[in-house]
Amino acid sequence: MSGPAPAADASTNRWRRRIASWLSTGTLAAVVAVLSLALLWMALRLAGFDATLALGALWRGSFGNWYALTSSTLVRATPLVLTGLAVAIAFRAGVWNIGADGQLLAGAALATAVGLAWGDALGWAALPIALVAGAVGGACWAGIAAVLRTRFGVLEVISTIMLNFVALDLVGYLVRGPLQEPSHAYPQSNEIPARMHLPFLIPGTRLHWGFALGVCAAGILWWAMRSTAAGFRVRAIGANADAARIAGRVDVARTTTRVLLLSGALAGLAGAIEVSGVTYALYENISPGYGYTAIAVALLAGLDPLGVLGTGILFGALEAGALSMQREASVPSVVVTAVEAALVLLLLAMSRRGAAARVIGRFAGARSPSPEEAL
């Protein structure tokens, strides 16, 4: 599709690769962090707030002390990392999964349902089974989009958005119907049994083992994407589906389906972890748009799984810090959403202009699937 033709000049390519490796993962996260703070500072000044006080509060509420870091930032980062991984792996394959939010909800709902129904009977196995149920729920939800795409040629961009709303309505129904708490006063489910709560990773904080799962998932995906045949196939169909099919004999439909299922499973796992690690019950608004923020998380990370870990934590910090910014400097916390968006647009603009291109160039070169194939 779009995108500049890859520069034929070998030295340019070498330099781009070098710049890319310099800026990759850790460094990229740092650059993005500085950029985002500068943007936020400017915006706050323009809006007439005390920018220094606000940014101080942002720091104190995110990285400033041990408790904020562990109990706010990393807790908030956990679903962002997992859904960010879900989006990253899908986009890498040229599959536009905009539906991480719905898949997260499906996972949360199924995990809650399993926990409430069999939590007591399953004993120690209840928690792992609930987490698997979450992943299965998310995978099934994404599977609908996969079937629609491979069997009926429905653009997954549209179907996943539709499925987000169906999932939202479905959860809205569940917490007012079959799964509603017994007094029928609130739109939420009963609490899941205590043995299903994710244990805390660090005593004295609210950081649960879900974060460790997110880190593991990022590591495994990073390894799988670069060192396995399956990872290569994913990257190949993302780079050029036709070439992968003809020259590489890659079964594009099957790979697409598997990627969508894996993507949905990651998002569903995020939902199950939210339920078992944070909320302990199913709520209608259990996701404040994690699946949409995840798109920004994945893009800023250059669709690199380890990068997602960095940007996920960064966005977790931004959103955690925003809350304390609102408390201490009465700056509306929602402003960080605009900062996140501005960063994506900034990277899009930079990707048109050379140097930074390679950083996010893995997707800047294009890649909506060709319409013949996607429709």
Binding site: M1, S2, G3, A43, A47, G48, F49, W96, I98, I144, L148, F152, G153, V154, L155, V157, I158, S159, I161, M162, L163, N164, F165, V166, D169, L170, G172, Y173, R176, G177, Y292, T293, I295, A296, L299, S330, V331, P332, V334, V335, V336, T337, A338, E340, A341, A342, V344, L345, L348, A349, S351, R352, F363, A364, A366, R367, S368, P371, A374, L375
Partner: protein, 303 residues
């Protein structure tokens, strides 16, 4: 019973109005091969613009401001997705987040942390003389706020533009045969810009309708997915104006069902009904109705 039914039908059309406006705009955009996911942000921005514009009780200014806000956001999308040929889906997603954050922050910044107690007068419904007396249909279609009548006006105009003018031919050709059209000398970016601005204006008015004809106030994220719904409507309406109108009504009716249930005292979980239009859209996309839907072939591709 009749009363409840009439008010259900009336509410269906009323709820369908902003959806139809936004979807008609997106229809034109998509016919030119651009998918503007940022429509959600355009509707939200239009709502916020309308709030600012109507500050001094001036409803006309409110609609104008909503329209201008929609134009601005569409232009931002155009700079990236058309002029810089960035990916349309990424751009649209970013724009949605941007508008959500900006309007939320500005709203609280301008109107205080609570933002409550801010109400502006609404247009109310303006019954059309004579037409309103038609039984059932009259109160349903012709006792509505002005934006509904705008839909009646815009839909045929857009149809005429798309199917009976050279401009419309160029637009549809861009959506179907991008390469051939480019070779034949049609200025693809120019037409995509024009359709984007039309879509932005209509989406902005759709947002203004939410504020000035329905709720009478603004709330953070009040577009509540209507922009996405409008995209679904375009699909369900098979990329045709008349189809878009019918599909809007369907979505409007689905959300108006909750009022009907309340009025009838039925304790039915309306969330399930809210999901019906989405499921229908998916089924329609999958060719459930017997034949495939022809999406513009170049949809989503950079010009």
């Amino acid at each position: 019973m009749t009363n409840a039914l009439t008010s259900f039908l009336e509410a269906s059309v009323r709820t369908a109005t902003p959806l139809a406006l936004a979807a008609l705009g997106e229809l034109v955009v998509e016919r030119a091969g651009v998918i503007n996911i940022g429509l959600e942000g355009i509707v939200l921005g239009g709502a916020f613009g309308a709030l600012l514009g109507a500050g001094s009780n001036n409803l006309v200014l409110g609609f104008a401001a909503g329209c201008v806000a929609g134009l601005f956001i569409a232009a931002l999308f155009g700079v990236f997705a058309v002029s810089m040929r960035s990916d349309q889906i990424i751009t649209g997603t970013a724009i949605n987040l941007l508008v959500l954050g900006l309007t939320g922050a500005l709203y609280r910044g301008l109107y205080g942390a609570t933002g409550a107690a801010l109400t502006i007068p609404t247009t109310g419904s303006v019954p059309l003389p004579l037409l309103v007396r038609i039984p059932v249909l009259g109160p349903t279609f012709f006792d509505q706020p002005p934006p509904t009548y705008l839909v009646y006006l815009v839909a045929p105009v857009l149809w005429w533009w798309l199917y009976r003018t050279h401009a419309g031919l160029a637009i549809r050709a861009i959506g179907e045969r991008l390469e051939s059209v480019r070779v034949s000398g049609v200025n693809v970016p120019r037409w995509r810009w024009i359709t984007l601005l039309v879509g932005g204006a209509l989406g902005g008015v759709a947002g203004a309708t939410l504020v000035l004809s329905q709720s009478g106030t603004f709330a953070e994220g009040m577009s509540a997915g209507r922009g996405f719904i409008a995209i679904a409507i375009v699909v369900l309406g098979r990329w045709r104006p008349i189809g878009v109108l019918v599909a809007s009504l369907l979505f409007g009716a689905a959300s108006a069902l909750q009022y009907l249930f309340q009025a009838m005292g039925w304790n039915v979980p309306y969330q399930l009904f809210l999901a019906i239009p989405y499921v229908l859209t998916l089924l329609a996309l999958a060719g459930f109705a017997g034949r495939r839907i022809e999406a513009p072939a170049a949809l989503g591709r950079a010009g």
